[in-house]
Amino acid sequence: MLEINDMVCGYGGVAALKGISLQVKTGQLVALIGANGAGKSTTLRAISGLVPPSSGSLVFEGKDMTGAKPPRVLASGIAHCPEGRRVFPHMTVEENLNMGAYLRSDASEVAGDRDRIYVDFPRLAERRQQAAGTLSGGEQQMLAIGRAMMSRPRLIMFDEPSLGLAPNIVEQTFAIIRRIQAAGTTVLLVEQNAFAALGMCDHAYLLEGGRIVLSGPGTELIANEHVRKAYLGG
């Protein structure tokens, strides 16, 4: 479904990705793990078009998307839930969710999806008219996750979705991710909670210093000595 070949990109001359190739198959849940600064977020940003690649190619569902701008990427069916929440601080919770459905014109179904998110995250339902910038960190994270789902993507990318969430909400969030996968949405997941991520994914990639150094089924990576030592704390 998504194929990246030898992608290089960076910020102002310094390469953060030094030639990355990866594949995501339709319906799969693919995890991307790595240390701080390894380039995980940069990979997601490159896919969604926030940072332009300096070389390499990106193909989504057979269409070449190399260098496409974010709106086009989203329109083609890829949603990106960015790292660090990035909610629109001076807009209400409801407006933030509506922004997630910006490209959709089916108003009634949008409302339905929104209610669905309120059911998933009752905390947000209590806060509909609150300015998103005044929400607590975890509440903002829930909002960011909900907002990304509002576009009804075929591929959804989460960048550290569990960040700042209470344990029970983390659990629930992973359940939601599994649920949307089961409903047919492909998922690309970046997680610091490597144990959980590897446990639930079909396939995983390990990034170090802007390169992919290991890939395989999640269970295989969990068993890997190097991964255990460097990422699973044991």
């Binding site: 926030l50 974010p70 989203l74 990035r86 601080p89 922004m99």
Partner: protein, 290 residues
């Protein structure tokens, strides 16, 4: 008493024009975060457009208004595309200085083209004022007030009730994330600036005939507009409207009952006082730390 009533009526009329000046700038300064020194020039431009269309081309006054507004829109779009777009992502002071450069150049351009002698525009309104008891007010100004109210309401609805308005606000709060939502941020930048500019031109087109038209007419208007926007709270349309009336009230009463020499000082003192009491304007956005 009758003098006081007259002051109040003046305040209403003046406040309406101030509010109109304020809302265009709220879009560009409050929402886009561009310290827009060309706002006054666009106001002047709108006024000269009226002069050209009415006095030189002989068109109908009411038809000329939309022409001026559209011309302001186009000029705003051009400014955004040529001056602001290449500097996207630079800090606010850099774009401010570019706007200063454009202001200086465009104002001198106006002087070059039209000369320094003031122009005026004939209007279809009767010269005799509307007199109600001790109070009188000109028909033209009433028309301006009505038109201003219309534009203000339209802008309010645009920003707060439409998808485009939502996208505008989102874009300037976090432009990367807005683009992740599918917003064409380039288009939003250009159209926000253009809409703000067309409002400035509309203000000029409406007020030009009330006053007289000359190249520096926008300077004072711009300073007042900045003050109004800040008074109301950045990016808040309702705030800008109320700010406009407060400034008008301060000036009227200052001139009427304190001293005409300190007329403008009253306005500025009010601004200082308000900001000391409420450091982020009358309608502050809620913020939090941590």
């Amino acid at each position: 008493m009758s003098e006081f009533l007259q002051h109040l009526v003046n305040m209403l009329v003046l406040g309406g024009t101030y509010a109109l000046l304020g809302i265009g700038l709220t879009l560009i300064f409050g929402i886009m975060n561009v310290v827009n020194f060309t706002h006054g020039v666009l106001y002047t431009f709108g006024a000269y457009m009226m002069f050209i269309v009415v006095q030189q081309l002989g068109m109908n006054f009411f038809l000329a208004l939309p022409v001026a507004v559209v011309a302001g829109w186009a000029l705003g779009a051009i400014i955004e595309l040529t001056l602001l777009r290449p500097l996207r992502g630079s800090d606010i002071d850099t774009t401010m200085l570019v706007m200063i450069g454009a202001w200086i150049a465009m104002q001198s351009g106006a002087l070059w083209i039209w000369g320094g002698v003031a122009k005026s525009v004939a209007t279809p309104f009767p010269e005799a004022p509307l007199v109600i008891g001790p109070v009188s007010v000109s028909w033209l100004r009433l028309f301006v007030l009505a038109a201003a109210a219309l534009l203000i309401v339209a802008t309010y609805l645009l920003i707060n009730r439409t998808k485009l308005g939502c996208a505008m606000r989102a874009t300037f709060q976090d432009h990367d994330t807005a683009s992740l939502m599918g917003v064409n941020v380039d288009l939003i930048y250009t159209s926000t600036f253009a809409i703000g500019s067309s409002l400035a031109a509309a203000a000029g087109a409406l007020l030009g005939p009330v006053y007289v038209i000359f190249p520096q007419m926008g300077d004072l208007a711009a300073v007042k507009a900045f003050a109004i926007v800040i008074l109301g709270g950045l990016g808040n349309i309702t705030g800008a409207v109320i700010g406009g009336f407060i400034l008008a009230l301060a000036e009227e009463l200052g001139a009427g009952y304190v001293s005409s020499g300190y007329r403008d000082a009253m306005g500025f003192l009010i601004i200082i006082a308000v900001l000391i009491a409420r450091p982020t304007g009358l309608f502050a956005r809620s913020e939090r730390v941590g």
